[in-house]
């Protein structure tokens, strides 16, 4: 804190300070750079007390206007060009720990003081963090070297030269083949592609390989898996009940988008705002399920608004962390302590997302209804009829309603129940009442609603503004036998926004605690249009049929119309219960503004994200692609490119890649990926040397190729592939491969893990059913997250539980059996079988020492099994095998081979 300075102290130290300052000024050098030299000192030493949350003595260094504003003392702490008059500088030199800054901490080093002093002397020029500055076309280093394959290598070599390191030579063909296959498709290359490459001795061999692999449908599956982490994709809703969610079509959308190389700008636009595009296709609606992967709480008594709000906040946080590599979460409660984002700006950004119709509904509304078979024929027919006969707005309204059941109001929004209750439905018992607030009645002549009742002769009365207000409608409601049906009633002409009061009565209810009616939703609008036109009867019949038809549903984003508009408030200290002032959608001031003509909704937000002026989006993407290939991003903290993240190892390379991605490759992910894969940097062999271990153990300089443990998905998938079990089937509902009993123990629902049949047991891992509260065990063990929120980066660990999984998990034993069977097809001695198996795995001959070890394992196991044939029979689990003892020994070897370090790594 800045204490009021004592005069005596001030003068006694003033001399010293002037001396110190003069000493600095005598030796001028390059001007001080705020971003690289000043900001790191401020962040580390000052901003904890003089930043967003704490502003001791009224001094903050977070924003430029704050740093130069008067502090509590009445004077600014920084006077440009005058370090000797700047309190900031003076305080660094004092010796009394009560006065000297940093308060009660070690003083700054001489070097640090010199930097700050010179910076003030030079005018204290403020700067914006590199990641918030527009991506400019960077100059490519002027380097010529035989090693260089493309521009990427020039950036890498420039830095290696500076560090007096040399790059490694290109990895051998076999290693490169396996590495690039796993990176592009997440699988080992199939025999055809592998053989083509290994026999292709042209200069283009490697590039052809990359092209072949990118054309494989497995490419989309590999890269979708990455995006599933970011989208916190799961097949359940999370929280207590963790019930199932039908959202696999979003996963399939991702696979298809990657395979068709949907440009990244469109890829983002459709996920953020597909529903707001003109005449959105089913696929564009489904893309918006990106932000419907937020969790839902179905538990009794939970406040739907609380969890709706939680979902909206998660969308804000996920958009920032997944797409813009920025941890925006902090700003929910206070201005960012380190980065220039203000508290209000969080809520302005939230306002983009705050008007979607999802309300933590247990039914997941709104959903896209995708009619099947005959129902779809009816849908197409109604659609055509509406387009030909109704006014465009009405046609659009009813087509949208058939697809989404929107606009409608969830009945659980009813309140003030007397002899009734609110849960998934609004339930009224005899003479029970409740109300529904903020209903816009202007221009509404019909109410369409969905309800269920088991009681005859029920009457639903609707009163205006109070239970003693005018009775505007008396609706007879029939006994539906308990099933939910939709019905309509006409409405009198009433203007304005009102609270409606509902009362239910039936003379047939004996017990006052028996349920009379359950409402699911209400939709205030107008009758199905064009009654006078030919074909109306059949179109309206189809409409009614479709309302009751079963359909494939996918949760989607849909904005409220103006009747249902929801204002967005700032939450004081981040609490949704303390609502502050109202804000409208906008983006943080430190970044470029919304593009001209961008509407202030999610579509405008998507335009802003995909504008080439957005400094974060392209950098975040190329950084992530780099991380997938090299194991670490150019900025290691994928989650934070801001000032609290780690600095980029190669900032100009990051900018080059971001520039290329937007301008040269026109947002094509495949082209960006290919450019990196073709670099000499990527193709290096990955051996450590003593020098590299000492100078660059984490391979931040890229003097060698990547050697990284594979992901949970890659490990299981490649093992399925080499053991010939892998099913090539794509898309569809998630599957349940073998998992031990007792993993799922969900309270309150009978959901159970039902082993999938046939090839569905051996599908790629991204198709495995993902339950948030109990993810697939081997996924978790190999560092997959629980996907409760956006998984921005998986931290790789190396644990004994991983070893136990790949050694003993029955799934891995089944794979080892199948792999042994395939090795056993080779005629000849055991060495030949192992050799062949190893080549299937690694595309290269096995080293003699390794072969010896594995052969000995075979021989010692064989001896054991010859003495215990029963055990052999159990292990091979196949009665058709002539010699179970030999096969069992081979299964032991196969199991060992599938646990080798070089198999679990990309080399």
């Amino acid at each position: 804190m800045f204490l009021k300075p004592s005069k005596k102290l001030f003068y006694s130290s003033a001399v010293l300070i002037v001396l110190a300052i003069t000493a600095v000024v005598i030796y001028p050098s390059d001007p001080i750079d705020y971003n690289t030299e000043v900001k790191p000192i401020l962040n580390k030493k000052c901003i904890t007390c003089h930043g967003g949350v704490k502003q001791e003595a009224g001094f903050s260094l977070l924003f430029e206007e704050e740093a130069f504003a008067p502090t509590k003392s009445g004077k600014p702490a920084i006077i440009r060009y005058k370090p000797e008059e700047s309190e900031l500088i003076r305080r660094l030199h004092l010796t009394d720990p009560e006065e000297r800054m940093p308060y009660k901490h070690d003083p700054l080093s001489k070097e640090e003081i010199k930097i700050l002093t010179t910076w003030v002397k030079e005018g204290a020029k403020w700067g914006s963090h590199w990641a918030y500055q527009k991506v400019k076309e960077p100059a490519v280093p002027n380097i010529n070297d035989d090693w260089v394959n493309n521009n990427i290598d020039k950036y890498i070599l420039e830095k290696l030269d500076a560090e007096k390191l040399s790059p490694s030579k290109e990895a051998d063909k076999a290693t490169l083949l396996r590495r690039v296959s796993l990176d592009i498709t997440g699988l080992p290359a199939n025999k055809k592609i592998a053989a083509k490459y290994l026999n292709d001795h042209s200069d283009k061999a490697y590039e052809n390989l990359v092209n072949d692999l990118m054309a494989s449908p497995a490419y989309g599956e590999k890269w979708a898996a990455l995006w599933l982490d970011l989208a916190r994709y799961a097949d359940t809703k999370g929280f207590e009940a963790d019930r199932g969610r039908n959202i696999y079509k979003y996963r399939d959308w991702l696979i298809h988008a990657f395979n068709t190389d949907k440009p990244y700008n469109d890829f983002l636009t459709e996920q953020i705002a597909g529903d707001l595009l003109p005449n959105p296709s089913d696929a564009q609606y489904i893309a918006t399920a990106f932000h419907r992967n937020t969790m839902n709480n179905d538990e009794g008594g939970t406040d739907n608004e609380e969890f709706r709000t939680a979902a909206v906040l998660d969308r804000v946080n996920t958009t920032w962390s997944a797409v813009m590599g920025t941890s925006f979460n902090c700003v929910q409660c206070h201005s960012h302590p380190y980065d220039p984002f203000k508290h209000d700006e969080y809520y302005k950004f939230m306002a983009f997302f705050n008007n979607t119709r999802d309300e933590d509904s247990p039914f997941e509304n709104p959903v896209l209804r995708q009619y099947q078979g005959a129902d779809n024929v009816k849908f197409e027919s109604v659609k055509k009829w509406l387009q030909q006969n109704a006014a465009p707005a009405a046609a659009n309204y009813w087509i949208t309603f058939l697809r989404t059941l929107q606009p409608s109001i969830n009945a659980f929004q009813c309140d003030k129940f007397v002899n009734g209750a609110n849960g998934w439905y609004a339930t009224l018992r005899n003479n029970g009442t409740c109300n529904l607030k903020n209903v816009v009645l202007t221009g509404k002549s019909e109410l369409l609603f969905k309800y269920a009742s088991r009681v005859d002769k029920g009457v639903w009365r609707i009163y205006l503004d109070s239970l003693t207000g005018p009775l505007i409608k008396e609706v007879p409601v029939k006994n539906t036998g308990g099933g939910f049906i939709h019905s309509t009633t006409s409405l009198p002409d009433i203007k304005g926004t009102h609270t409606l009061y509902f009362k239910y009565y039936s003379p047939k209810i004996k017990n006052s605690t028996d349920d009379g009616i359950l409402f699911e939703w209400f939709s205030f609008g107008n009758p199905f249009p064009a009654k006078e036109k030919p074909g109306y009867d059949s179109a309206y019949k189809y409409f009614n049929d479709l309302m009751m038809a079963g359909a494939e549903t996918t949760p989607i984003m849909m904005d409220a119309n103006e009747d249902l508009f929801r204002p967005t408030h700032v939450f004081e200290r981040g609490s949704w219960l303390s609502k502050g002032k109202i804000v409208t959608p906008d983006v943080p001031a430190v970044l470029p503004g919304l593009p001209k003509n961008a509407p202030k909704n999610r579509l405008g937000l998507a335009m802003w994200l995909t504008d080439k002026n957005n400094p974060l989006v392209s950098r975040t993407l190329v950084n992530r692609i780099w991380e997938q290939l090299f194991g670490t991003g150019i900025v290691e903290t994928l989650e934070d490119l801001g000032t609290q993240g780690l600095s980029p190892t190669h900032q100009t390379l990051l900018d080059y890649l971001a520039w290329q991605h937007m301008h040269t490759h026109n947002w094509s992910i495949k082209k960006t990926l290919k450019e990196i894969l073709l670099s000499a940097t990527y193709r290096q062999q990955s051996m450590f040397t003593k020098e590299l271990l000492k100078k660059d153990p984490y391979n931040k300089l890229y003097a060698r190729g990547p050697r990284v443990r594979l992901s949970a998905e890659q490990i299981r998938d490649q093992t399925l592939a080499v053991s010939t079990l892998l099913s090539p089937k794509m898309y569809g509902k998630s599957v349940m491969p073998y998992q031990p009993d007792g993993i799922w123990r969900s309270p309150y629902n009978g959901d159970a893990w039902k082993l999938s049949e046939g090839e569905d047991q051996y599908r790629r891992s991204l198709y495995t059913y993902f339950k948030r509260t109990a993810p697939y065990p081997s996924m978790l063990t190999f560092d997959g997250g629980a996907r409760e929120v956006c998984v921005i980066r998986r931290i790789r660990t190396n644990t004994p539980l991983q070893a136990l999984t790949s050694l003993n998990d029955s799934s891995y034993i089944i794979m080892a059996r199948s792999f042994a069977k395939s090795m056993d097809k080779v005629n000849g001695p055991i060495e030949a079988k192992i050799k062949k198996g190893y080549e299937e795995m690694m595309y290269k001959p096995i080293a003699p020492a390794k072969l010896n070890v594995l052969t000995s394992l075979y021989q010692s196991s064989l001896l054991k099994y010859q003495n215990n044939k029963k055990a052999a029979t159990v292990l091979v689990s196949d009665s058709t095998i002539a010699s179970p003892t030999n096969r069992a020994a081979l299964v032991v070897v196969a199991n060992a081979m599938l646990n080798l370090d070089e198999w679990l790594n990309k080399n």
């Binding site: 009794g300 903290t637 123990r745 629980a786 070893a803 199991n895």
Partner: protein, 498 residues
Amino acid sequence: MTQKELHNQRLVREAQKAVMQQHTRRHFIKESAMGLGALALGNLLGGCSTGSNNVFDATNPLAPKAAPFLGKAKSVIYLHMAGAPSQLEMFSYKPELAKLDGQDCPPSLLNGKKFAFIRGVPKMLGPQASFNRYGESGIWVSENLPHLSTVIDDVAVLQAVTTDQFNHAPAQLLMHTGTPRLGRPSMGSWVTYGLGTENKNLPGFVVLTSGGNNPDAGKSVWGSGFLPSVYQGVQCRSEGDPVLFIKDPAGMDRDIRKASIDAINKVNEESYTEYQDPETLSRISQYELAYKMQISVPGVMDISTEPDYIHEMYGTKPGESCFANNVLLARKLVEKGVRFVQLFDWGWDTHGDSAGNAVDIGLKNKCRKIDRPITALLQDLKQRGLLDETLVVWGSEFGRTPMQENRDGKTMPFKGRDHHGEAFSMWMAGGGIKGGTTYGETDEIGYNIVSGKVETFDVQATILNQLGFDHEKFTYESQGRNFRLTDLSGKVIHDIIA
């Protein structure tokens, strides 16, 4: 030397040993020319830094580490009764409530309150158990806990714990991870991250569940959140393999498994020669550890070898899946050096919708099932000299209302109580806790707190304190922010510390 001094000396020795091991390791690393830079060792020696430097050595993440200051407890056994037991039939003696039994709840208790299931005006429900004072401390305990009342002088009862969550899953998350939402590390993960574990043949953080269900919040209550996944709780199971995949595959015996791990490691040594990747060395040692776990875990997890008097004491039945067995296992595990043992028992959600969920029937049965084993645990730890260094915590996610539940405004078939977060009871024992104390007070019907309020964060701060951590300084940086278990709150409850 007093018991306490002996204990302190042991802790100092342990810390020194940890430091020495790190030195040795450092030496080894230099010898094997792997370079120091590959490993984040610096911080391990100084304990947890107060800055933002995350302390994580990927090659040996569970190595024992010294806490920043000398904690009294070395390990924790946390007994969580999922579903929320009624404090009014266990520890919270409310004679005035008996007088109100059957009367309409006054509106003052209902205005502005939100309940999970109570609707309209419920009736008050008097205590469904009688109470007496026990021990020298004279703490009130109900007839439902006849065994525990005999050791109540070892226990510090918190009578006024509060939470702002009234649904199970978020309340459990708040208690164990410091937030009602998913995604943060659990207490056990924090502790194993900070202290590592002493037995390298066993996981550092073990979870045992009983009652037929996992807790409502699922595995997230023992998840590692943003901490590396190696710190997540390892669920040891009472059926099937005690640790997933710990058993050799059918038809592959221990000798063959040993031979195959040896073979894997020999081939991996070849790979190491080729690539010089330090991670390969780490993998070799993890495969060795996996094998050691295969040997030691089933033994540790087998309670049948315990003597008869122990089974008598705990009421254990080897071969069954029950809370008592888990309690005995917990003792065995901390004895073997496991850092954090977390027990969840399912079935305490006494709404009154069935006999099993009635506070006068089901609750008594549940109490009977935990009373003897928990008492035995405290006695057994004491007789082994382990109680001083083992912190035992008993509690739940919230308590229950003094009103009788009237779900959806209807009369329930049995006597039950709804969720109540305003005030409930927990207790701690051992690990430097002052036995025979009560802390906090609620009003005469147990509805609101009068004094000594304890928030979930205070419970966490106290547990960390007993282990040697200042909860405000024990942080991990994630997404640009330093997180701590207690978020932005938490006060150590000094009144219950010896």
